[in-house]
Symmetry: C2
Subunit: 96 residues, 2 copies
C-alpha cells in the first residue's frame, strides 16, 4: 500500500498541535528530545512507545542515554512524513 | 566511591572474551552493533538490557532503528572503561 506524504498544511497543523517537535532541516522527519527523572522513567516511556510502535507497525528512530531520549519520526516508504508519524507523535505526547 | 579504570590487560581480556565488541578509537568505550529479526525482537533484547542496567545502576548509550541496536558502554566516573562495562558486556552477550 503506497503511503502518502503529509501536505505542507498537514505538517504545519501537526507542528502547531505538537509544538515540542521540530521539523528536521530536510523537511522529511520530525524530532524531539525528552528528559526524564532517571533511567527507569526514560525506559518506562520508551516501553510505552515501543508497544505502540509494535502494534502500529511503524517504528521510531531513537536513542537513549540515562534519562535522555531522542526520537526521530519519518516514513521511509513516503520518503518523508506521513499520517503514521503524525499519529505516533500524538500518541507519544499522550504518554508524557 | 571512585571507579577504577580497567588496565590494558583487563581490556584485552574483555575484548578477547567478547570479540564482537570493538574498542572505540579513543579507547574509552566499547561498541557493538546488533541486528535482530524484527523490532519486537530488538526491543525485547533492549528490555532485558534495561532491566540489568536499572539493577546495576549502570547504563548503556544506545540507539535503535527497527531491528538494529547499537550499544556503547563507558563509565563516565572513570573517564573510560571500568569493571561495570565489562560486567555489562558479558551480561548483554548472555541475553543473545
Amino acid at each position: 500500500m503506497p503511503v502518502t506524504r503529509l501536505t505542507d498544511a498537514e505538517c504545519d497543523a501537526l507542528l502547531s498541535e505538537c509544538p515540542a517537535w521540530q521539523l528536521r532541516a530536510d523537511g522529511k522527519a520530525i524530532e524531539r528530545a525528552f528528559r526524564f527523572g532517571d533511567f527507569n522513567a526514560a525506559f518506562g516511556f520508551m516501553t510505552r512507545v515501543a508497544l505502540y510502535a509494535d502494534k502500529a507497525d511503524h517504528h521510531p528512530e531513537w536513542s537513549n542515554v540515562y534519562n535522555h531520549v531522542n526520537i526521530t519520526l519519518t516514513t521511509h516508504d513516503a520518503d518523508g512524513l506521513s499520517q503514521r508519524d503524525a499519529d505516533m507523535a500524538r500518541a507519544i505526547e499522550s504518554f508524557l
